[in-house]
């Protein structure tokens, strides 16, 4: 995977040191190269990379190779490797660090755009009014067409509701009827719930683009909204 001979006079591992400082109990050096992560990782082999090679390059100071690889966008940071790793090494966590280190203009465009939009309102960029309108419209349609659901509810900004529900932004945008089954379940279960009219997007693309400030902002916006509504429980649908 390396084109040329790796010559080591003095081992320099800047990136590894960065990871060790950024991640508590990083355990990078503990790797036994046993391959357990590779055999469990869904992204093994993509971009000529796998979790073990990733760690090996870190240990051998091949920082450029790591800063360049797009494998960090194939790894979903699912933590399957860490779950079984005998040394409890969380490769996904390092991938997250690397994603954040990648200049914004070098990141996958859709991912970064979704995050940027979410920082404004939601990841699809539809106006909040549209969301409110779509929910009302779909609800009305169900009540009309399905008499047994004539009293179905989809409250928005209902103060003091017991449960707060967020929403994957893709559904109100392109598949609005997909929202209905959950409403029905909550209805049958007799749950007192509500959406909010702003910061209602349940996805958090900023977590995947790798900027801690951005995804924290996204979470904080939603948390503040929920607090303002005085809701006790928070249901994350993502």
């Amino acid at each position: 995977m390396l084109e040329q001979k790796l010559e080591i006079r003095k081992l320099r591992t800047k990136l590894k040191q960065h990871m060790q400082e950024a991640v508590p109990d990083a355990h990078i050096d503990y790797c036994l190269t046993c391959g357990m992560c590779v055999s469990g990782c869904p992204a093994s082999g993509i971009e000529d990379m796998d979790p073990r090679k990733f760690l090996r390059l870190l240990v051998l100071g091949q920082d450029e190779k790591l800063l360049e690889t797009d494998w960090i966008y194939s790894c979903t940071m699912c933590q399957r490797c860490e779950y079984a790793c005998p040394m409890k090494i969380n490769v996904g966590r390092f991938v997250y660090e690397l994603r954040g280190m990648r200049p914004k203009d070098k990141r996958p465009k859709n991912l970064q755009r979704s995050c940027d939009l979410q920082k404004e309102s939601n990841s699809t960029g539809i106006p909040n009014d549209d969301f409110v309108w779509v929910v009302g419209d779909v609800l009305e349609e169900v009540r009309e067409n399905e008499p047994e659901w004539a009293d179905l509810q989809a409250p928005i900004d209902k103060k003091g509701a017991e449960f707060y529900l967020n929403q994957n932004a893709k559904e109100p945008t392109v598949e609005p009827e997909e929202m209905v089954p959950l409403w029905k379940i909550l209805h049958v279960a007799g749950v007192d719930w509500t959406y909010s009219s702003k910061w209602w997007d349940g996805a958090n693309y900023c977590l995947f683009s790798g900027d801690p400030e951005d995804w924290e902002k996204t979470v904080r916006n939603q948390a503040e909204t929920v607090d303002a509504l005085g809701v006790r429980y928070y249901i994350n649908t993502e």
């Binding site: 040329q4 790796l6 036994l32 190269t33």
Partner: protein, 1026 residues
């Protein structure tokens, strides 16, 4: 310091010292320790928590690397333990408390009720047959069922049933069942049995609680507990075992089909600080997995079983292990250097799918019929509690703490430990430690030797001369070992027809306690005067059966064995009919021989109570001090002018203890010991005599009389020649060193070391190569410890270790982890891709391929360290010849039995310790030296020992006095009487080898019970059916 002073210092008056020892745990370690102690003059209380002794070894099918049937080699020891006059066997018992001081402890032992009177139980099994309550059988690891009244396993010692109070219907609701009581023919059932408490007065204690296999259900990704065809290695042992739930037919749990494709997953519950919480290596799993793969292939009906072992480092670091591994690979066992993330179901046929990556990262999928998890060893909860009761400390891994220089001593004086409870280890190592612990436990009680023991009395022997032969033939099934091939019933019926045979019977296990007892009774009742046992090998079982004859009041030489297992059922598995015929032939021959057997005298020789120890390294010095402290005079012979051996070159043990300080104090002890006569600058020139009475002549002309010898001559280190493939610039560049040379620098506190920027270590230099196929065992740990020492001196130093498999077995794994944590980089190479070492202007360049990133790495070290092989000494051959010891092809000395007699030679009275046996670190060397001393103490503590009875005898009428016999006798037992000019045999020295008989030109010498008439009778009867 002599032992006497020691004793008085610790315990006051000698009369207060107890002559008894408590051994806790009845596995192979506890049993061996008990036997050593009981045979050397101490009374032993052996406490076992379950209903029978035998421990983990009794559950195994075969053992590595000899592929011996585990139960078969264990059983004689268990029976001996069960019958030993000086071993008080307390089963279903546990230690409650331990108070007092070394020399005078008081232990309270609680014995739980068996509900079956062992005096009355005849182990007929009727109770279990009728018992309506089925219970999961823990001996079969839960794979099979047993009854609430049960026998732990077929060869159990004691062979007595026990009632499981938790499941027995009557004990839970009195009056409801009671079936066993109704059917028991000997009225042995006692539902009113109560727990009893024993107050034991003892002088020392040995802890041998053993291990527990890791429970993989907490590792959900293995599929264990969810997928029926994922089993643990211990479960697989039971599937292979003839006494297991499928009678050794290897059936997989889901559908009882024979698996055709099996995967072993290594390191389950070991070397895992994540979910398994055990950072240590369990030491034994690599070898047992290979053994299981080899045995499973033998078991498979089609013979083409597909066996794959998925591993990380192959750890075959013991004697003959590497050869075993190579042989398995060449025979077709597949080895994949990959760990498996998860085991998943594959389709609907109960098969299992694994996804794995080669070192190159390429993903492969493979389906298996059965997956075996090679689970590690851990300390059982009960053993942790036991340690607390005994007041001994545990380490972070929960194993009992020991000291590298006192490898069997615990944190409490007078309490010793052996076996897996101190660190995961294999059977030979456990047996070695057991003897070592026995030595230590006995050493502090030496003044009370024979104080608490009883003496064996045999009934008077019946005179059989005037009687016609009344021969009894006992045909053994050996479980299914014999009976699955040989038609034992037909053979038994046939035996009844042979001349002189008055009784023939078939037994499931002839060596089991109940059969032995019954045989004794049968001999008396039927008035037998000759006995033939058709079973296994006389090598392991003859003494047991001969003892039975003596107990029954007939001379033990009126006995023959026919080996219908090793030489018949095992080698003719595919020809049952021919094997049955061969069994008949073998029995007919044995009967023909026994008919002519005469009773022989029980010869004995007086023991010279002193020892010769050869080699004054750590092993020899430890052995010498161990014997001398017990009051036995020792001559310690060292070829060089200085003592200390290899240890003089070592910096520290892997645990971090400085070697030189320890060595200096050991040397002092040796030099000042009143019972040690140290002779330097001399070696052995000639040896005569045998156990109890050796005479050794040294090169300075000294003649020594001694009862035993311990050989501890050490080993050398391999230094690669300039034209060797493993030279790596050694001797050419001043910055290339061996491990020991680097240790010299550490000892000398060489300040240049901290200025080094980069160091490269190359492992396996001259080990695990075609010309030296064994693993040198010590180098991985030694090299890694050195790398850590270099990091201490200069934390910024770059260190690269080029290795083939890292073999930091047991708790040494901690060093490997520490080394990685400190940034030391490990790069794997193999024989096809050796590191290339070159020099440019005095600078060393090492090029090696990193298999993970598939790229050449070029290193530029200031220092290159070679982990070179431990090499046997060439001159050991002479010594071996003098003492008639065998040497293996690799040049290391060969012990009597690799598994169960690791420090004995086949020649009685000669023992071995240290590197001449096999490469080993300091702690194991010390333990082995103590073990050798323990075995030697057994001889030295006797006034007389039995001598050979089957000796040569001369017919003076035929003897011409030609003296050929004196020349061919290897034991100097024959001489020409000056007065009569006829040959005479010294019975005490004659070994009965028969060389003189063959050499005699005038047919004047015969061997007792091996006369021409008897041999001809055997030969003639062989031809009967031809």
């Amino acid at each position: 310091m002599s032992n006497k002073k020691n004793q008085q210092g610790n315990t006051g008056a000698l009369s207060e010292v107890s002559g008894s020892v408590l051994v806790v745990g009845g596995g192979i370690a506890g049993v061996q320790a008990a036997l050593d102690l009981a045979d050397s003059g101490f009374y032993v209380h052996l406490v076992e928590k379950s209903a029978a002794i035998g421990g983990g070894m009794s559950q195994l099918d075969k053992t590595f690397p000899t592929n011996d049937c585990s139960a078969c080699i264990l059983s004689p020891k268990l029976v001996e333990c069960g019958r030993h006059l000086n071993i008080n066997l307390l089963t279903l018992s546990e230690l409650v408390s331990l108070e007092g001081e070394p020399g005078s402890f008081k232990a309270v032992v609680k014995q739980n009720p068996r509900y079956v009177d062992p005096e009355k139980c005849i182990a007929c099994g009727t109770c279990a047959e009728k018992c309506p309550k089925k219970v999961v059988n823990e001996f079969d690891m839960g794979l099979g069922k047993r009854k609430a009244i049960y026998l732990k396993y077929p060869q159990a010692v004691p062979l007595k049933y026990a009632i499981d109070a938790q499941h027995c219907i009557w004990l839970n609701k009195p009056g409801r069942c009671g079936m066993c009581e109704k059917v028991c023919p000997s009225k042995a059932i006692n539902f009113d049995d109560k727990p009893t408490e024993h107050m034991l007065e003892i002088g020392s204690v040995i802890m041998a609680p053993g291990f527990k296999p890791f429970d993989p259900s907490r590792l959900d990704y293995t599929g264990y507990g969810r997928l029926p065809n994922v089993v643990t290695s211990m479960e697989f042992e039971r599937l292979l075992s003839p006494s297991g739930p499928c009678m050794g037919h290897m059936e997989r749990p889901s559908d009882g089909k024979e698996p055709k494709k099996i995967a072993w997953l290594q390191c389950v519950g070991s070397r895992d600080i994540n979910r398994a919480c055990h950072g240590y290596c369990s030491s034994v799993c690599c070898m047992y997995a290979i053994k299981q793969a080899v045995i499973a292939r033998e078991h498979s009906e089609s013979g083409d079983l597909d066996a794959s072992i998925f591993f990380m480092d192959m750890r075959t670091h013991g004697k003959e292990f590497e050869e075993y591994y190579n042989r398995a690979a060449s025979e077709g066992v597949k080895f994949h250097r990959a760990r498996i993330h998860s085991v998943l179901p594959s389709g609907e046929n109960d098969n299992l799918r694994v996804r794995y990556a080669g070192e190159d990262g390429e993903i492969r999928y493979e389906d298996f019929d059965l997956v075996v998890l090679s689970v590690g060893l851990e300390m059982p909860q009960q053993a942790i509690e036991l340690a607390a009761k005994a007041g001994v400390s545990l380490d972070a891994d929960k194993f009992i703490v020991t000291d590298p220089f006192k490898p069997v001593s615990t944190s409490r004086n007078g309490v010793f430990v052996c076996g897996a409870a101190a660190e995961p280890k294999d059977i030979p190592q456990s047996v070695m430690e057991a003897s070592a612990a026995a030595l230590e436990a006995g050493r502090i009680l030496a003044p009370a030797r024979w104080k608490d023991t009883k003496k064996k009395e045999y009934p008077p022997e019946k005179n059989v001369y005037s009687e016609p032969p009344r021969i009894g033939v006992f045909v053994c099934s050996c479980g299914i070992n014999i009976a699955s091939v040989v038609d034992v019933e037909a053979v038994t019926e046939y035996a009844k027809t042979l001349p002189g045979v008055v009784l023939a019977q078939n037994n499931l296990f002839t060596c089991s306690q109940d059969t032995i007892d019954q045989m004794e009774e049968t001999i008396r009742k039927e008035g037998l005067n000759r006995v033939v046992v058709a079973s296994c090998t006389p090598r392991t079982h003859e003494p047991l059966f001969q003892e039975t004859l003596r107990n029954a009041g007939i001379n033990k030489y009126l006995f023959e064995m026919a080996n219908i297992r090793d030489q018949d059922s095992w080698v003719h598995q595919n020809e049952p009919e021919a094997a049955t015929e061969k069994a008949k032939d073998l029995i007919r021959v044995a009967v023909a021989k026994v008919r002519g057997d005469a009773p022989l005298p029980y010869n004995s020789v007086k023991v010279t109570k002193s020892a010769l120890v050869i080699g004054a390294g750590v092993a020899g010095m430890t052995a010498a001090v161990s014997l001398a402290d017990q009051g036995f005079p020792v001559t310690l012979v060292e070829r060089k002018d200085d003592i200390g051996g290899h240890a003089r070159k070592f910096y520290r043990t892997w645990q971090g203890n400085p070697v030189q300080d320890y060595l200096a104090s050991l040397v002092d002890t040796v030099k000042s010991h009143e019972n040690i006569d140290l002779k330097c600058g001399v070696s052995v020139k000639g040896v005569s005599g045998s156990v109890g009475n050796f005479t050794t002549v040294l090169t300075d002309g000294t003649e020594l009389k001694h009862g035993v010898s311990i050989i501890a001559v050490g080993a050398g280190s391999f230094k690669p020649d300039s034209d060797s493939r493993w030279n790596y610039l050694y001797g050419k560049n001043p910055n290339v060193h061996t491990l020991l040379e680097l240790d010299q620098k550490f000892i000398a506190e060489d300040s240049s070391l901290s200025g080094i920027n980069q160091t490269v270590f190359i492992h396996c230099v001259g080990s695990r190569v075609p010309e030296r196929p064994y693993c040198s065992r010590v180098c991985c740990t030694h090299a890694i410890d050195q790398a850590l020492k270099l990091k201490e001196l200069n934390p910024d130093m770059d260190i690269f270790m080029l290795y083939r498999d890292i073999r930091t077995y047991g708790q040494r794994e901690r060093l490997y982890q520490e080394a990685r944590a400190k940034g030391i980089i490990f790069i794997r190479y193999d024989l096809e891709n050796l590191p290339a070492v070159t020099e440019e202007g005095g600078n060393i360049k090492v090029t090696v391929k990193d298999p993970i990133i598939d790229a050449e790495v070029e290193l530029n070290p200031d220092m290159l360290v070679l982990a070179t092989a431990v090499r046997p000494k060439v001159d050991v051959h002479d010594l071996a010849k003098f003492f008639k010891c065998s040497i293996r092809a690799d040049g290391f000395l060969m012990e009597a039995h690799m598994k169960l007699r690791p420090v004995d030679f086949a020649t009685d009275g000669i023992f071995l310790a240290g590197l001449c046996h096999y490469p080993k670190p300091m702690d194991e060397t010390i333990a082995q030296a103590q073990a050798a001393a323990s075995r030697a103490s057994i001889v030295l503590s006797q006034d007389e020992i039995p001598a050979e009875s089957i000796t040569a005898q001369v017919d003076p009428r035929k003897c011409t006095g030609c003296a050929v016999c004196t020349e061919v006798c290897a034991y100097n037992a024959v001489s020409i009487d000056e007065a009569t000019e006829k040959a005479v045999v010294n019975e005490a020295m004659c070994k009965g080898c028969g060389a003189c008989v063959a050499g005699c030109r005038s047919d004047a010498i015969t061997l007792k019970n091996m006369g021409n008439e008897q041999i001809m009778a055997e030969l003639e009867t062989i031809m009967d059916n031809w």
